[in-house]
């Protein structure tokens, strides 16, 4: 039986290292790796639409070739700001091989930890307009009416936005593995 999860609480910033939100930082593990540079941002809100200003968002993604075992270190961590906003700088992931000889659409996994979350919430960020979105096995496991909560929209060059609503109208789809 696995150890029980407990909330990260409001003071997790003691393990916040703001530079981790930039996966392309000059002194970081990915300096010099080629790919399409992107910014991913979004706002985390609660059931009242109020910003979650104390959340920790973790990112996990494949490299531009869709690999998890290459040189690219696809992990980032970001604290939400006073408006509940997170922002990562990274390389756009490639399609990831799935079972049945199909490819998953390019995607980034986001995990949320915060006061009031007794265990993490896991979701995915997809990119609007990707042809592979149509055949993606995870997107297809989500009812069509809610699929849009996983699809980031372009917001300026190389910038994609995906807001996350924890509860209520337009609630983000969360995943269990």
């Amino acid at each position: 039986m696995s150890t029980a999860s407990q909330t990260a609480g409001p003071y997790w910033h003691l393990i916040d290292f703001p530079e981790w939100a930039d996966l392309l930082r000059g002194d970081g593990p990915n300096a010099g790796i080629a790919g399409e540079r992107i910014t991913l941002l979004g706002r985390v809100t609660d059931g009242d639409g109020a910003p979650c200003a104390d959340a920790m968002v973790e990112l996990w993604q494949a490299d531009p070739e869709g690999q998890y075992d290459g040189a690219f270190h696809g992990f980032g961590r970001c604290a939400t700001d006073a408006n509940g906003e997170f922002r990562f700088t990274t390389l756009k992931p490639g399609p990831v091989r799935a079972a049945g000889n199909v490819f998953q659409a390019p995607h980034v996994t986001l995990s949320l930890f915060a006061r009031g979350l007794l265990s993490q919430l896991v979701t995915r960020l997809y990119f609007a307009g990707e042809a592979l979105n149509e055949q993606d096995p995870v997107l297809n496991a989500v009812p069509a009416a809610r699929r849009g909560t996983l699809i980031a929209r372009p917001e300026g060059p190389g910038t994609w936005r995906l807001d996350i609503r924890l509860q209520g109208e337009g609630e983000t789809v969360f995943l269990e593995v």
């Binding site: 003691l14 973790e58 799935a98 209520g168 269990e176 593995v177």
Partner: protein, 231 residues
């Protein structure tokens, strides 16, 4: 490969009425269960070269924290009892007076300029981790009238698969606040709850130096249900 299902009662619900902060933050909809893909079977490789370790929160060059020095050690295992090597363990905690070195913590207790309260260690080949710190204090948290958190150290763990990611809290044996704490008590299964409580350990205790506590952690295991066409 897949992850073994979570044992009933072993994990807290997201909607826990006694814990006020869950009210507006728990999703109304059930999560959608997906078959793990390569994304969930892989995991970031957290190495000491990328994330330097810090195994002593109590003392450094030219400084020493106030409070009762303790040593905490334990093993990180999967559900099959196999040790997890190279697991990254981050810890954070309040100081001896029950105050976090954090701008949002306004509890009227003294800050210790020599205690930041943040550490990072990695498990060895047998799954062991170990760090030295000071015993944290209890602190009030306004969840209900006269609400005090039991003494605890926060833990963040990365294993070898994405589904092994865990954030939890370690509690101390004999704490009278444990039966009163909504966060601790949100874990339904009593045995699962009790495994969040460290045990005093005379073998970890060092003579003339510090008491030792043992805290083992179990991360989700894999089960061998082959995918139809493994990637």
């Amino acid at each position: 490969m897949s992850y073994a299902p979570v044992a009933p009662g072993s994990q807290p619900p997201l909607d826990a009425p006694a814990y006020g902060s869950t009210h507006k933050r728990h999703p109304d909809q059930a999560p959608i269960r997906i078959a793990p893909t390569l994304t969930e079977l892989a995991a970031p490789r957290m190495t000491e070269s990328l994330y330097p370790s810090n195994a002593n929160l109590a003392k450094g060059p030219g400084w020493e924290a106030q409070g009762e020095r303790i040593i905490v050690a334990g093993r990180v295992l999967d559900e099959a009892g196999r040790p997890l090597q190279g697991a990254m363990v981050e810890v954070w905690q309040a100081n001896a007076a029950g105050r976090y070195n954090h701008e949002r913590d306004q509890h009227d207790a003294p800050l210790d300029p020599n205690f930041k309260g943040e550490g990072r260690v990695f498990t060895d080949a047998e799954g062991w981790y170990r760090y030295t710190t000071i015993r944290p204090g209890a602190y009030p948290w306004r969840n209900h009238h006269n609400a005090w958190r039991p003494v605890h150290i926060h833990y963040s763990l990365f294993g070898q698969g994405f589904a092994q990611r865990l954030i939890t809290q370690m509690y101390f044996p004999g704490d009278p606040l444990l039966p009163l704490d909504p966060i601790f008590n949100c874990v339904p299964d009593e045995a699962a709850r009790s495994r969040l409580v460290a045990s005093f350990d005379l073998d970890i205790t060092q003579p003339e130096y510090a008491l030792g506590y043992r805290f083992d952690i179990v991360l989700r295991g894999r089960q061998a249900t082959p995918m139809e066409n493994p990637a």
